[in-house]
Every structure is written in C-alpha cells, then in structure tokens.
C-alpha cells in the first residue's frame, strides 16, 4: 500500500513540475510556432518583448492597477480588520461573512456585473474602473492574512506601553504598527498579486485603454500564440521563483524571522477559496 502511494506520489511530482519548467527553454526558442524541443536558441523574443509597446504598455498598466488596488485595499481593510478582530458588536458575524463573500462569487459573475455597471459611469476601459473592481477581489484575501496576524498579536505589549505613559496614538504608531509590519506587508503583497494575476474581470472591463498583462496574454494565446508569451511566462515564473527561493535564503543569511512563502501559501490555501 505504502509503496503504491509513494510511486504515484513521485509521478504526481513530475506532473506538477514538468509544465512549469517547459516554458523556460521555449522563451529562448527561435521557432515561430509552439515547437518543442526548439529547433534552435536565441534571445530574439526577449528583445521583442522589451522593445514592443504592445507588450510593455499592458505590463505597465498591470503594475499601476495592482499598485492602486493595493493602496485602496489596505485603506479599507486595515481599519475594518481592527474593528472585527478587536471589538465585539452586534452584526459582527454578518460583517465577517460579507467581507469574505467576494471569494465565493465566481469571477465570471462579477465580470458580467462590472461590464455593464461600470459602463454606466464611464469607468469601463479605465485604470480607475479596473482598480475599483480588483479591490473587491483583493479585500477578502488581505483581510484573511491581516486578521490572522492581528489575532496572534500580544496585547500586553500595548498595555505595557500605555502603562508607561504612552498615549493611544503613540502606542499605535510606536508599538502596534512596527509589530504588525510583516503582516501588513504580506497582506499588501497578496492584494498586489491578486490584482496583477487577475484575468477574467480584466478581460471584460480593461478594454484597449487599460489593457492588463493577463488580458494581453489571453488575447495573444487565443489569437496567434505569439512566441513572446513564452518570454512573459518565463519572466513571471522567475518572479515567483525569486519570491519563494529568496526569502528563506535571506532569512538564513540574516537569521531574521520572516515567514517563509511556502508556509504562507500553505496557510492561505487552507484559508482562501
């Protein structure tokens, strides 16, 4: 029994990893189509990506939109998380459910909603429109990460500061915020990634003017399978790799306590939809 499960497990690992690895050689391929293994190697498509405005503009749009989404999400979520974690009040459980609701709604449903709703205000095909829509999807994720951090917060530290004469505001700035900083950063990072990766809503509402990178990739794969996609995929994959491999390395170098992304992802997978 054990042996069978372990053999199947090894096959499963190959299945999980192989498709991730294949995009890297593809990005250096000189083939015009999806030929694998590539007939030859060059950097031509990297050059194409970094000089082609049809790819650079969506990349830039995605960065702006994800940054805007992160700022708006944090402005809304940080106070709300304090309210929900630190206070008891009537309607709290309702508020909890409402905050997580966007996770339960399939993105295609929200896309249909935003398509006509944002259109009424002339917000379709604008950065602001996409930011407003993406914030809705980022709110529950940022909230889950932050509330988990805030629940583990040792409040005696705040009481100690206040008993030493610090005002509530001073305590918040000098004690609460510094301790909560890693949680805030990770929560903001998740909001950013959620927006940067979001495809379905962006396909419907970002249009030509605010076209995001995932939308551009989607159109490109659907229409022509432009080989530049392999370059973009490799770059995105490299970012993920850096994000996962670097923090534990830095941690072992500086031996400072930073949550490992793998453990973080594990806890989010347990948490989010």
């Amino acid at each position: 029994m054990n042996r069978l499960l372990i053999t199947l497990g090894i096959i499963a690992v190959v299945f999980v990893v192989a498709p991730l690895v294949i995009v890297v050689p593809m990005s250096f391929s000189n083939a015009r189509s999806l030929q694998f293994p590539p007939p030859g190697y060059w950097f031509g498509y990297y050059h194409a990506y970094f000089t082609d405005m049809r790819w650079l503009r969506p990349t830039w749009n995605s960065i702006i939109i994800a940054a805007g989404t992160t700022v708006l999400t944090m402005i809304l979520v940080v106070p709300a998380t304090f309210a929900l974690v630190r206070h008891r009040f009537a309607g709290k459980s309702f508020a909890d459910v409402m905050l997580l609701m966007p996770l339960a709604v399939p993105h295609i449903v929200m896309a249909v909603g935003y398509y006509s709703y944002l259109g009424m205000f002339g917000l379709v095909q604008t950065h602001l429109g996409v930011i407003l829509a993406h914030t809705c999807l980022s709110v529950p994720i940022a909230f889950l990460v932050l509330s988990a951090n805030l629940k583990g917060f040792d409040r005696t530290l705040e009481r100690a500061a206040q008993s030493l004469g610090a005002s509530p505001v001073r305590t918040f700035i000098h004690v609460t915020l510094p301790i909560l900083k890693p949680g805030l950063i990770i929560s903001a990072l998740f909001a950013f990634i959620q927006s940067f990766d979001e495809t379905v809503v962006a396909i419907f509402i970002s249009g030509r003017n605010a076209e995001t990178l995932p939308r551009k990739m989607f159109d490109s794969i659907r229409q022509e399978a432009d080989p530049v996609i392999a370059v973009v995929s490799t770059l995105l994959f490299a970012l993920v790799l850096a994000g996962i491999v670097l923090p534990p390395l830095l941690k072992s170098l500086r031996s400072r306590v930073t949550p490992a992304p793998a453990a973080q992802a594990l806890s989010t997978a347990e948490n989010q939809s």
């Binding site: 029994m1 309210a83 009040f89 295609i108 929200m110 006509s116 995105l236």
Partner: protein, 282 residues
Amino acid sequence: MQATIAKLAERPNLWPWLLLTPLAIYLAVFFLVPLANVVFMSFTEPRLTLANYERVLTGALYQRVFVNTFATAALVTAVCLLVGYPLAFLMTRSSPRTAMLILTLVTMSFWTSFLVRTYAWMVLLGDSGPIIGFLKAIGIEQPPHLLFTRFSSTLAMVHILAPYMIMNIYSVMRKIDPVLIRSAQSLGARGAALFRHVYLPLTAPGIANGSVLVFVICLGFYVTPVLLGSPREQMIAGLIGTEIEEFLAFGRGSAMAIILLLITLVILTIYHRRFGLDKLWG
C-alpha cells in the same frame, strides 16, 4: 471636532462601526450593487421577462453545457484527488528536507499565473510538442489531436487546481498522530485495512476541503476551458462570455451567471452546515 472625537471615544461600541464604514460603503457600491445589477439584467433584458431563465434552463444547448460543466468539475476533482493524495502522502513520508523541496515546488505551481500554466500545456500537448513527438517516435503514424479537446482542458485544469488539493490534504496528513497508526498496527491492522479503516478516515477532512474547493473553482473556470478546450464543448463560464461578448445577450448571460452563483452558494452553504466554512477559509 476634538469634542466629537472625545465623545465618540467615550462610547466604545461606536468605534467598530466607524472603522468598518469605509469598507462597508465600498462593498455596497462595488460588490452588492453590481451583483444586484446582474440579477436585474437577468429579468429585464431585453424587457421585463422570465424568458431568459426559461431559455437557459430548458434550451438543449444550455442543458448540455450545464451537464458538461458538472461532469468536467467532477472529473477534475477526482483526478486532482488521485494526484494530490499520493503526493501529500509522499511528503509525509519523506525527510523534512525532501518534503520542504516538494512543498516548494507545489507552492511555485500555486503562485504561477493560470495563463502561464495554460500556455505550458499548449506547448506540451501541441501538434509539434514533446508528447506528440514521442508518440511519433515510437511509431504511431497518426497521433491523436490532443490540443483544443476536452482532454487538454481537463488535464490543464487538474494541473492548475491540484495545488489546492495537495495543500489541503497535506495540512491534515502532517498533523496525524503517528501513535494512532502504530496502535492500529499493534492491533493487527495491515496494508489495505489499515489504510481504509484508519488512515483514510483520519485524512477525510482534508479530502473534503480540497474537493469542495477544487469543484467550486472548476464550476466557474473561464480562462483554461476557453483557451484549451473544444469550442463545441464549452463550460458555463465560457458560454456566459460568448453570450455577452459575441451576442450582446446580457439577459441570457446574466441568467446563467445567477444560476452559476446560486449553485456555488448552495454547495458552499451545504458544506458550511456540515463542516463549517471557517474550516475552508480560516
């Protein structure tokens, strides 16, 4: 101003509402109203009518798409389980180092964009890709067309959703007390019996969590079926997209979206009653 703040501070039960107000307003305006708008459109486009629901619930094309979506979601969930369970088991039986390495690989897959993984499958299964190449090399003259079929979209969806299953099962498996297994063994449980009566029930919560998650996400999957699937065998989300983008049929598209939403919510509610959603969401 100062006086107002002082007054508010004296009534601590007002604070949470004050802190929640901005988010509540935002969610009302940009979450609830757009959703209500979908409901509204499903009954009023092109005019006040129930015809959209009638058409979507009784039309042969729509029924086929609904059946197809459920069948695909069930198949994807089953295969994810088949991939995820042994992999999670392998992790619990490996050295901490190997387990960490596998977890890192799964995490990498989890964080890599849907589109990148979809594209990777396009390369793998394409007509000039390695799998067709291998089939030709071992002497199969006319290998089957793999891309743009139900097979390719199902396989890619399994790959994309497997990390959810793996992480859910692994998080349960690693908490299993080895003493339980040893005591079962000392009582004579071996092999399949040990697995069926001890290990499987202990890991059931992870299986349930992972399966609900994968099934629900799969029901509403848009990107991968549209890019890799057969245009003749669409799933619900893909058809909603076609109705809106190609036919500008907002009424029918909205009616389907509402049905998809209701099905999703019913599944999550049943799960919530039975196990508690907090287990799924933390």
